[in-house]
Assembly symmetry: C2
Homo-oligomer: 188 residues x 2
DNA sequence: CTTATCATGTAAGCAGTTACATGATTCC
DNA sequence: GGAATCATGTAACTGCTTACATGATAAG
């Protein structure tokens, strides 16, 4: 379970409310982690009870109050300890990969359409990430500390999207080279 | 939820018992899906109740009986329908990525050690997959149908491990080029 | 006047992990 | 005699998702 620790990292970058965090998890941190606001609220409440974070209620004009969370000294210790722990290799769990493998047990063309749709999504994301790279990280050679880490995680996002684009392209290409005998033929 | 469908794919390849499936999920299918035997037993029981699979009790000499599951006609239909459904882009959830991003909030050297350990694991897996490719798929140009799909999913496993190796190598290299001022310095 | 955004939460349920249990057999 | 493998399962728990609820303001 690492949502706690992902939240600690996010809050050390910048104290924030639950909804702020949910939004950030849809952006930069979201390259490799995702969480809904409900889950974030629950975990935040637990972390507060455990003394890892502290809350400041902030009144806003024309908007509901918000609870801004910040990491406590105890939370900093928890995070530092976790960072030094070994992380076991996590197995990827991909529904699309199961479909690629099982394509011959259904309508092949329909699966290829699903693959094409996913390929388009990954292309779009890759373009978006590459734009972020150009916009936010002008001269990466000069970066150090946390700024360097942020950049390198974005690099990971880019590399991951390239992995998807290349793999799905290979899949489509391999099946284009070996079409069904007749266009409307069902495989068997 | 796709474990059901992953099991349907596995059982269409070859009818099997719960433990057989658990073992297979540690191998080829395991490139992109993983499940423990307890989870498999539970899902298998539900699929049996739903009429997606049927059980044959097989007596064995010197071993406990086993229940061999096979996909029913209804199960085949469920699988075919699912294969044609669009699959939303799934966000990757990586604990290691969180550590990369948060490294400056702990002992940087300890995190680099964690990264090195993971890099070694991914190197080993990559070598293993490449060996499988060489051993099981001599001339890939000749493959068609399900054999081609199996090969292409293995290709995905190889590409994914390369992604990890390249990304983690980039991370280590970037931090080797920008060392702490003094060897025992703590970052801040 | 409706929709979207800000902001926080409750409730119900499913998916998945971890620990434990059983009972026989084969290997060392 | 002890450990490992084959084979199936129960029980307890955690993590996470989905649906729903509230109540205000800003934008179209």
């Amino acid at each position: 379970m690492a949502l706690e620790h992902a939240l600690l990292v996010a809050l050390r970058e910048q104290p924030a409310s639950g909804l702020d965090l949910a939004k950030r998890f849809g952006r930069s941190i979201g390259f490799f982690w995702h969480a809904t606001h409900q889950q974030i609220y629950r975990v935040l409440a637990r972390m507060d009870a455990d003394g890892w974070v502290e809350v400041t209620e902030v009144a806003q004009t024309g908007r509901p109050d918000k609870k801004v969370y910040a990491v406590t000294a105890a939370g900093e210790r928890v995070l530092a300890d976790w960072l030094a722990e070994p992380t076991p290799m996590e197995p990827l769990r991909s529904e699309l990969a199961v479909k690629l493998r099982g394509a011959s047990y259904g309508d092949r063309q329909a699966v290829l359409d699903v693959v094409r749709a996913n390929l388009a999504d990954h292309h779009a994301r890759l373009a978006h990430y590459e734009q972020l790279e150009k916009r936010d990280h002008g001269q990466p050679e000069t970066l150090t500390g946390h700024d360097l880490d942020t950049y390198l995680v974005l690099r990971g996002g880019i590399r991951l999207e390239r992995f998807w684009v290349e793999w799905l392209t290979e899949y489509l290409h391999a099946h284009r080279s070996r079409p069904a005998r007749s266009p409307k033929d069902q495989e068997r």
